[in-house]
């Protein structure tokens, strides 16, 4: 499972079928049993009989085009394609005969005569060898496709039309797997060829560069440029993607210590062999020239960096931290764990904070994304996590997407969702913007509730009002599974006319009739699932919104079985894991409060140190405390809070006020401009560990090359802890996981051995669920009875007015990731070179703004400039931008408003004004100059 021989995966030719009835037949005289509906090709492959094929592959529906998988069936005329012919009882199949061999030989000759450049990459070379084709009878003088032009427009792969046998695998992969439908076969007969969109280049087409077409191409027609440059890989290691919370499993294909390509692993249970442009192609940052490989220190942030060895850097950092604590007390220090690092690394950082620094001042970037999910779902269900696995969506009849943009932020799961929608499931989108899912090929949302930003709770309450007052509550579910008194209190509250669609429509800008229709569909349309993202959590009522979502699901009985549930889509690869590992200042691993004495005693006995029973500071509290002088030093692993957190001026002031900021990262990020110590980090390719994705799936991260910086991130934390006189002696991350399992009931059954055995595990994994838990809350909730919560709509304090009449909301694009530290250092920037401000034509015209103009975006907190993008995706009065580029620094305008329960910032609602500008603001110019100064490095003198 860890290291694989390349090509060792058997392609069964056609997808699996689900049938309880088995069929008996013979193939080449051997008795074979297969599920009813399976193809002969698949049944043969499962029996170890490999029928030649080119157009068939087990990730795509059969097509019957290449005519290589022909078979003879006793009692039937002709030679049917085995990929499109289902098995039948008593069938006698022959896969080889003189006639079949002759036919295959002829077919291969025709392919090779038309496509002398088809190459020997994969299937076609093998098929030619198996057909015994060593030369082509038709000579080289006839018409062929040898001179067809190549399309090298995509930065990651090339399309050589000369090698394309028009088998349609790429077209079908784009249709069936990715769901973009960007490719087609144009022309007829000999002139047939693959066309991207309407004869565009791949780069200019609708192609989203997911790589599905490259993955299935049986010739050299579609091939990665990295393979062309480096040659064929020699070995393969299965690991987990380090981008979004889908957690795709990949094969890192290597040549020596060089990564040649990443290909999605077909056995990955989160991605089932699919990928997106980030995971499949955007790994070049690991070798980017700006990657930092040497530790650095400096006395003051106005100094240049001084490169030093690891020992000196760690001693410098420990000495600074010790001095701070001796002077200002234990609470003067803290740490931030990373959702981009492994569970084991995250666990170690919070352990360092609690055990070595003796403080609960530890937090994680989930503070600014999904902390309301943890609070809200724990209150309602008893567990701070989503309820389903990704496969659950295949059983959904109604899909409600609120505050999420899966095609951009979680593209591989979005492909899965789109497949279900194309199969007929109904879609409700609640989002201020017209996200792609609202209308795309073969998908159209039944309801798009384009609400005013900041009114999620009002809308969800209105939906619940309809469900309660129109008698659509699943009373049996509520009676059996939920706290009845809490339900009755909630039902009385929600039935109040103040929550009716007619009362709410003026608040949220969604017509009452549309709210009523959407509520009826959700409640009565069959298995209904809710998927949500940061458009739910990043509000002053983020936690209330999560609770309102839970209320809806409980009231309609949409929990505890496949196809339903409440599903937070996590932004970063290990947000779930970072939260699970005890990264919050009030919780130890497994979401147990630090004030719980038995839990604390358990940790104290294993860690050998007394723990503080009081909660520590959250990230924004740390910044505030730094400004007031009581918080003086911080260890930040793999986060760039200056770019990602709101109200940049305040964050900068807090960082500047500290005596020692330690940044551990791949690059000198924005935060590092305020750092005194820089620990160069390692990439996910350079270390072992585990990530936990949005469906609670724990998967292995495997080292495929040595850390270029010399140490894996967990080793850095361990050495830092030892320098702080708290010993850590782990020899391998598996030992850290053993400790996590010993301390965390939901991880009690998790081990590296079991991960090797099962491939992945969804927690809880313990004596009650030894192989994990794909769907939670079956039969009963983790907390016992489900808890309905009263979710009164409270308008945000951030209000529009004469000075700031527009509402800004922020988000992500497909090709960039979070603050862009990784993706900006790859070819992905070809698709998104800069953050743009989306503005409705009406608002643009009113301000004299043309598409592409520089505009100034100003709020009560600050201002920045960027270029405009005029679009009707946003409603009048609403504008939108991304936060991927530090040159824009969108968070200079976002505010200090935050969620009442968790301090999660209200990124999604900022009152702003937009005016024409001549270019970057004075602040942007000054920040760039400051960064240049802050990034000066004095190299190590030669010895």
């Amino acid at each position: 499972m860890i290291a694989m021989a390349l090509g060792s995966d058997i392609d069964l030719g056609t997808p699996p079928v689900s049938s309880d009835r088995m069929v008996d037949l013979t193939i080449d005289g051997r008795p074979v049993t297969a599920p009813e509906g399976a193809s002969i090709l698949r049944a043969a492959a499962l029996a170890g009989i490999d029928i030649p094929k080119l157009c068939a592959t087990d990730s795509l529906e059969p097509f019957g085009s290449c005519r290589l998988c022909l078979v003879e069936i006793e009692g039937q005329n002709g030679t049917p394609a085995s990929c499109t012919t289902p098995v039948a009882d008593g069938m006698a199949v022959a896969t080889h005969s003189e006639r079949l061999d002759r036919l295959r030989h002829g077919v291969m000759e025709l392919y090779l005569s038309d496509h002398p450049g088809a190459g020997i990459k994969t299937a076609i070379g093998e098929a030619a060898r198996r057909a015994g084709v060593t030369e082509v009878r038709y000579g080289e003088g006839g018409a062929c496709h040898a001179e067809a032009k190549a399309d090298a427009s995509n930065p990651y792969f090339t399309f050589h039309s000369s090698a394309c046998i028009v088998c349609s695998r790429c077209v079908r992969a784009c249709d069936e797997v990715q769901g973009t439908l960007a490719l087609t076969i144009a022309g007829r007969g000999f002139a047939s060829h693959v066309s991207a969109s309407q004869e565009e280049t791949f780069l200019g087409s609708e192609c989203v560069s997911c790589g599905a077409c490259v993955q299935v191409c049986p010739t050299d027609a579609l091939i990665e440029k990295s393979v062309i440059a480096a040659g064929a890989p020699e070995r393969s290691v299965v690991t987990t993607c380090a981008y979004c919370g889908v957690g795709c499993a990949f094969e890192a294909q290597m040549k020596g210590d060089q990564l040649v390509r990443m290909t999605p692993w077909k056995h990955g249970k989160a991605n089932h062999g699919h990928s997106c442009v980030k995971g499949r192609f955007a790994w070049g940052y690991a070798n980017h020239r700006e990657r930092m490989l040497k530790p650095m220190v400096r006395e003051a942030i106005t100094d240049a960096w001084r490169e030093v060895g690891w020992d000196e850097a760690i001693a410098f950092a420990a000495d600074r931290f010790r001095t701070i604590q001796q002077t200002y007390g234990r609470g003067s220090l803290g740490a931030i764990t990373s959702s981009r690092c492994t569970n084991e690394e995250t666990y170690l950082v919070q352990k360092l904070a609690r055990a070595a620094l003796h403080t609960n001042n530890v937090d994680t970037c989930a503070r600014v994304c999904h902390s309301p999910t943890g609070y809200g779902l724990k209150a309602a269900f008893g567990t701070s996590a989503g309820t389903q696995d990704f496969d659950s969506v295949d059983h959904s009849d109604v899909i409600l997407v609120i505050g999420a943009n899966p095609t951009d932020a979680h593209p591989v799961f979005a492909s899965r969702m789109k497949r279900r929608l194309r199969a007929g499931a109904k879609l409700i989108v609640i989002d201020p913007r017209g996200i792609d899912l609202v209308r795309m090929p073969h998908i159209s949302a039944t309801h798009h509730l384009a609400l005013t930003p900041g009114t999620n709770v009002a809308v969800l309450n209105a939906l619940a009002h309809v469900i309660v007052t129109e008698g659509l509550v699943d009373e049996a579910f509520v009676r059996d599974r939920c706290d009845l008194a809490a339900f009755q209190a909630w039902a009385a509250f929600i039935a109040d006319p103040v929550n009716s669609p007619e009362a709410v429509e003026t608040v949220c800008s969604v017509p009452a009739a549309e709210l009523r229709a959407a509520a009826r569909l959700y409640a009565t349309g069959g298995a209904a699932a809710i998927y949500y993202g940061l458009g739910v959590t990043e509000h002053s009522q983020g936690t209330t919104t999560v609770m309102a979502i839970a209320n809806l699901a409980m009231a309609t009985g949409n929990l505890g079985r496949p196809g339903v549930g409440v599903n937070p889509l996590r932004g970063q690869n290990n947000v779930q894991g970072a939260c699970d590992m005890g990264s919050f200042p009030h919780e130890l691993s497994g979401y147990r409060h630090v004030s719980d004495e038995p839990t604390r005693r358990l940790f104290e006995s294993l860690w050998g140190v007394a723990l503080d029973p009081e909660p520590g500071l959250r990230i924004p509290n740390m910044i505030d405390a730094a400004i007031d002088g009581s918080f003086r030093g911080i260890y930040i692993q793999g986060e760039d809070i200056l770019q990602s957190d709101p109200d940049t001026h305040v964050v900068a002031a807090g960082l500047a006020a500290m005596d020692c900021v330690i940044v551990q990262d791949l690059f000198l990020n924005e935060t590092a401009s305020y750092a005194h110590v820089f620990f160069p980090g390692s990439t996910f390719l350079e270390k072992d560990g585990t990530f936990t994705n949005a469906e609670r799936r724990i998967q292995r991260v495997r080292k495929v090359m040595e850390p270029r910086n010399g140490l894996a991130d967990w080793e850095i934390t361990q050495r830092f802890s030892n320098a702080l006189d708290y010993p850590m002696t782990y020899g391998h991350p598996r030992e850290i996981m053993t400790e996590i399992a010993a301390l965390t009931p939901t991880f009690a059954g998790v081990s590296y051995d079991k991960l090797e055995e099962l491939g992945s595990i969804q927690w809880p994994c313990n004596a009650d669920a030894p192989e994990g838990t794909p769907v939670m809350h079956i039969g009963h909730f983790a907390r016992g009875a489900g808890e309905f919560m009263l979710t009164e709509y409270v308008p945000t304090e951030e209000r529009t007015g004469v000075r700031f009449p527009l509402l800004l909301t922020t988000g992500r694009v497909l090709t960039q990731y979070n603050v862009g530290a990784q993706t900006r250092r790859t070819e992905n920037s070809i698709w998104h070179k800069e953050d743009r401000l989306e503005i409705h034509p009406h608002d643009a015209e009113h301000r004299g703004i043309a598409d592409g103009d520089w505009v100034k975006l100003a709020s009560r907190e600050g201002e920045t400039s960027l270029r405009s993008l005029i679009t009707e995706r946003v409603a009048p009065g609403v504008i939108y931008t991304t936060f991927h580029h530090p040159s824009t620094q969108a968070n200079v305008v976002t505010t200090e408003h935050s969620d009442w329960a968790t301090n999660c910032p209200e990124y999604k609602v900022t009152a702003v004004q937009v005016t024409l500008s001549k270019g970057p603001t004075a602040w942007q110019t000054a920040a760039e100059a400051q960064n240049r100064l802050a990034r000066r490095i004095v190299p190590v003198p030669a010895e």
Binding site: S540, S595, P615, R618, V794
Partner: protein
């Protein structure tokens, strides 16, 4: 923020709301933050919603009893 917390608990009735706010402040606010809001209350508590004021007063009583 204490007022935001109070707004969430508002519909639970006065006694439950005050208890809910106090519990939230104890579980999620660092002691120095609790100290700051207690100091604000002792200085008059300007701007605090009634339920938040009462919850902070209970925090203050707890501090006084343990000190």
């Amino acid at each position: 923020m204490a007022n935001q917390i109070a707004a969430f608990f508002r519909l639970q009735g006065d006694a439950a709301a005050v208890a809910g706010i106090e519990d939230h402040l104890r579980k999620y606010w660092d002691p120095r933050m609790r100290g700051q809001i207690i100091a604000h209350l002792r200085a008059g508590g300007e701007g605090l919603a009634p339920a938040a004021r009462e919850a902070v007063a209970r925090l203050d009583q707890g501090v006084q009893q343990t000190s």
